[in-house]
Symmetry: C2
Subunit: 717 residues, 2 copies
């Protein structure tokens, strides 16, 4: 592997640790040195001959400006908790229960017209004359006793949320950073000039690494530590709002949004729920704004002779890499922090020149959920390996251009196991990248369409990282798919109606009743149901998981029950007898029992359904012929290497592609990729024990011995 | 107990076993001998000096008439299975999949206009011109490919369902009995004359025991043994329908019902689901019809000098004892077969002169679910004791006038343990009856209102026996309540809005989202929510169990979440942080852990909720102050004596009635009733081991030793 010692690696440098920085850059084969949130590079480092990334979070670190122009700060809509009226007058302190270091009432003259008071008991908006506001208190008059009332209001966000997170989780004590809204004309002028100045003042910087753009994902803190996080959604747009945005929206779209478009009875508009038409419009509006402003910043960076990379996390809202306007921004690179395979694919497939992954663990004392990493009790090399096993199988299918780390480099001192592991991963990565530079690895003739409300906009991801969304079946399925030798595309229900299944072999719908992944009211549309029915009847396959195509008001709970051969009893079948069944004696493909789970109320709707697994009488895995096609139902799907293998074998079974060898090793914990022009097999052991596994290529087959976790490249004669 | 050896007991006599009949009548203290379904009494028996009940099922045993007048048979609406159209023409055989010995197409000229063809994919009724019918086949033209179509149609029911059950379950081989519809003018004339003749021909009969009236509960068999029961609902009205009934309804109510009012997208109108307004009208229509016709029969029986008792099972539809018209029929007695305490209360509280219970097991080789009873492998004395323990505690609160058995008496030969047990139960029953004859036992000052869609109409019962509805929390709660020393009433949501909680201390809502017991769309009504809120805020108590007050489209999943302090995450809270909690260190009342269960997604909505129990982080029992009142949430409730004790202590805790002793023994498996004027305690051991338990009365307290299952009467000095 000596040819693969250097390049495509971004090292976090650290001032005060110049020798270490250069030593580790050499060990890990870095060609780039970057700073990180909270660190600066020293002249010794930036002048050492490496390409330099400098991190900018454009909307924060401007506290002086924010103090001088408090109306340039960012905002959000919030709803008070619902208060019970016991007489005809009720006083509501809107911010009660919210974290007062994050929020401050915006009761300015341009904000107050957007405030609303609701009778939530009867879901009725009160007329403006029914309440008054003074000194932080809304007084509601003419209440109906024993109804509950809420105030929807605008609040300034006075603490940038990532900084707030680091303070509250990692005990930072520095001044709270504020954040500016680029929609504010003075702020926008200021930010552009600031960036011009910054570029001028940082001549050594080659790449401006934007972390990220303007608006953070939504993270609402409560005042009570028993419920610190009131709401967190990596893909919500609430933090983009302001009277100026609302007025601009009305001008552009011809109708006005109200507080309720955001507040939604206090539930807000979470990404996991199907969006309203208004929300779709608003997202488009924000995406166009973000793209336009981002392009202006990128132009400034380019004018200074530098490149602009964007880190796709934190303040990313509106710049989705698969969104309509992303390409127009003109970024030179996209950097994605990755715990998982699906995040690699998300990055690798984006339309941008350079794709870079920032590996985990971050060089920080604590990691996920506050667990120790680079401190006593931590095992950073184990964490790195766990993430690598997810990432590697995705890289095998679609490589990226670069990898790297972030954080405080001095924490690697004494962490030899970690440092060696990263060195090894770097070499394997470069070998993978070299293979991909010449050709794509062989794929099976299977195209999978993952179908949900968002379609391509939320390709691979749902809302945030795996561990933030692991209660959703679909992220487990996406993670499995990220490393399989099949083609994957993400389609919306609208896409499907427009013919998006034309080139698909298998369509997957996996979610919970009413959520954006299952589809909710999308299934009220007979054209959608008929199209999937046609697709399967004519020979396609359907995989439904959890509560697929769940709908209310139809003749079945699952709109596709007649295809799947299973439906869910949500109480409507209390008097209806179910089809009795026995479990099939033989498995048509490998079944990872540990990956399956029962969804409550699942029952057969037809006698020709084969039940492959059940749990206490509830089918958990079924198979059914339908016309020329087939349908599978899974009650659950928890990602593991064996679960991924089950999914692959299921896809092969469904599509009749059995026996095709590429990517299918004899041992279920091993995977391989075949590069036909280079006659090279890449073998991966996902298990933590040595294993013998056979792999085949066109014209040959042999057995290999793989060490625990090993990656083995084998070029056949 | 020798004073209590005789009376109030109905024995099933059996021809050919005359000596046995008289012997058992003496042993069990019978004063009445009856025949049973499938048996006849011989002259030796009917002339032995006992009062005689004779069983009549008025609408069956008339096969000759039915053959001659096939249009006088009963009917029902059915829906074909949904068939997929793959081209523009589709043939549907409506009855495919139904049991052809139960159903026959009614394609007569008066029936065909009620047939409908539906596009179930888009829930669209096809115009009459879109389909034709000939020779048992509906041909649909102009289908949308890949839509599914159903035919709703009328079918004759050509096998009386109880007879069908006995044939298919107990291998009877006699001629299939048919059933007549009293709405058919000729049939009605015939049935009246038949009854007059019968009364004339049976001079020894004192009581005509009607089993029961006209229309059976709904029981639809399928052709496939893997799904023999397609639908069964003890309280549905579908089997009352006919073109004549539909036409009469239209005349009376001013609008026409259609097939879809019954078919309801193929789901039918199960009792467990909230009814449509049309169904409510139709039920009223049928109740009036049944009461009118039943009164005519009772008049015939009275004119013959006999009494008319009605058995409340089988063909009971429309004569609910708590219905609006029941009292107008003029029955002399109501007989209820009982497995459970709630059934005793259902019978005991009805407005009719004589209340009689038919105990289980039935004297038959097999019992519930085909398990052996009076045959090898059976333990009828154990079965009898198990049911008795349920029945006894209900009798302790409200007695009835009579008890009895049914079936084949010869099966008791050699069953000494059973025979002795029944003898003992008879004596205890008579003692209870004697106590109740003078006074009601003491009650705690607690009135419980059980609140659901049906209110009083479905007092105590849901739909059928306990074992048919035991998936519903509420039947477990009703069973527990049936033996508690508290007042219980059943109120509808409409009653509550009209002030029905005026005299209540505790209101209970227990069900599953969308069902008739939880309430479904009833909770869209702000007036209902506000009234319960007021009730608790002003000092009442609320017990919510399962998915109480679950509603869709509101700001919470539970309309009463703000009172309960818990709500359910059905996916809408995916991004919302939950209140953390710890379980309370001390129990405010006895908690029967085994009775509780987790309802998925339950979370706290307020910090002042006390979590008494949890399962894997899901609260299963919570308590919350609300205004001057209190609210309890239970995720599950499975009846057991300890569960009943928990409910009693909970009620005492909620109402502040702690320390009041009546009915509260020291041991949780024992219960007692106090008859103050007779200074008599009735103590019951619900456990199967001897136990020492203390019981108190006004002015005294002592400890008692009770044998397993014992009933002990103690008169204090």
């Amino acid at each position: 592997m000596d040819d693969y010692r250097t390049g495509g690696f971004t090292l976090p440098g650290e001032a005060g640790y110049e020798a270490l920085t250069l030593k580790m850059a050499k060990k890990w084969g870095a060609d780039v040195i970057r700073d990180s949130d909270g660190t600066r590079l020293s002249p010794e480092i930036v002048e050492a001959g490496y390409k330099i990334y400098s991190t900018i979070c454009i909307i924060r670190e401007h506290n002086a400006f924010a103090q001088a122009h408090p109306d340039a700060q960012q905002q959000t809509f919030l709803s008070s908790d619902a208060l019970l009226a016991t007489e005809d007058e009720l006083d509501i302190a809107p911010l009660a229960g919210y974290f007062d270091q994050q929020f401050q009432l915006n009761d300015s003259p341009d904000a107050l017209p957007f405030w609303q008071v609701w009778d939530r008991t009867e879901n009725r908006l009160l007329p403006a004359g029914a309440w008054t506001y003074a000194d932080g208190i809304v007084r509601v008059r003419g209440c109906v006793p024993y109804h509950r009332y809420t105030v929807s209001f605008l609040a300034w966000r006075i603490w940038e949320e990532i900084n707030m997170y680091n303070h509250t989780t990692n005990h930072w004590e520095s001044e709270h950073l504020r954040q500016l809204d680029p929609r504010h004309p003075l702020a926008w002028e200021y930010l552009q000039q600031w960036l011009r100045d910054w570029c001028r003042d940082n001549p050594h910087t080659d790449v401006v690494r934007l972390t990220s753009l303007f608006y953070n994902f939504v993270w609402i803190f409560g005042s009570d530590l028993r419920r610190r996080t009131r709401f967190v959604d990596w893909a919500s747009y609430d933090f983009t709002v302001s009277p100026a945005a609302l007025n601009a929206f009305e001008k552009a779209y011809g109708y006005a949004l109200t507080a309720e478009d955001f507040i939604n009875k206090g539930k807000l508009q979470a990404t996991h729920r199907p969006p309203t038409a208004h929300k779709r419009d608003y997202m488009d509006f924000i995406q166009r704004f973000v793209a336009e402003k981002a392009k202006a910043l990128v132009d400034i960076i380019h004018a200074a002779g530098k490149q602009a990379y964007v880190f796709y996390d934190d303040s990313w809202v509106g710049m989705e890499p698969y969104g309509r306007y992303f390409a127009s921004i003109g970024f030179d690179g996209l950097i994605k922090c990755v715990f998982s395979g699906f995040e690699c694919r998300l990055c690798a497939g984006a339309r941008v020149p350079v794709h870079e992954l920032r590996f985990h663990p971050y060089l920080f004392p604590v990691g996920l959920g506050g667990a120790p990493t680079f401190m006593a009790g931590g095992h950073p090399e184990q964490d790195a390996m766990a993430y690598w096993l997810h990432v590697r199988r995705a890289l095998a299918r679609q490589s990226v251009d670069r990898i790297g780390l972030g954080g405080y480099l001095h924490l690697t001192v004494g962490q030899d196991a970690f440092n060696d592991a990263i060195e090894e991963m770097g070499m394997v990565f470069r070998r993978i990248k070299a293979l991909h530079a010449l050709e794509k690895p062989a794929e099976l003739p299977v195209t999978v369409a993952v179908m949900h409300t968002w379609g391509a906009l939320r390709s691979w991801t749902l809302s945030g990282h795996f561990h933030e969304t692991d209660g959703n079946l679909l992220i487990h399925i996406n993670e499995a798919l990220s490393g399989l030798p099949v083609r994957v595309k993400f389609v919306s229900f609208e896409d499907v109606k427009q013919g998006a299944l034309r080139d698909a072999d298998v369509v997957i719908n996996a979610g919970r009743a009413g959520d954006a992944w299952s589809g909710g009211d999308a299934w009220q549309d007979a054209a959608l149901t008929a199209e999937i029915t046609r697709f399967v009847y004519e020979g396609g396959s359907l995989i439904g998981a959890g509560e697929p195509s769940a709908v209310s008001g139809a003749d079945a709970r699952f709109a596709l029950a007649h295809v799947l051969g299973v439906d869910q009893d949500d109480g409507a079948y209390a008097c209806h007898g179910a089809w009795e069944f026995v479990t099939e004696p033989a498995d048509p493909f490998l079944i990872a029992d540990e990956a399956l789970a029962a969804t409550a109320g699942i029952r057969l709707t037809a006698p020709d359904v084969k039940v492959l697994r059940q749990a206490d009488g509830t089918p958990t895995l079924t198979l059914r012929p339908f016309g020329k096609g087939r349908a599978v139902y899974m009650g659950g799907f928890a990602y593991s290497p064996r679960a991924a293998r089950m999914l692959l074998e299921m896809l092969l079974y469904l599509t009749g592609a059995e026996g095709r060898a590429a990517g299918l090793c004899s041992d279920a914990l091993t995977e391989c990729a075949w590069f036909p022009r280079q006659k090279t097999l890449m073998l991966m052991n996902n298990g933590d024990a040595p294993v013998r596994t056979a792999a085949a290529w066109p014209g040959g087959e042999r057995e290999f011995l793989l060490k625990a976790h090993e990656t083995l490249f084998h070029t056949v004669p």
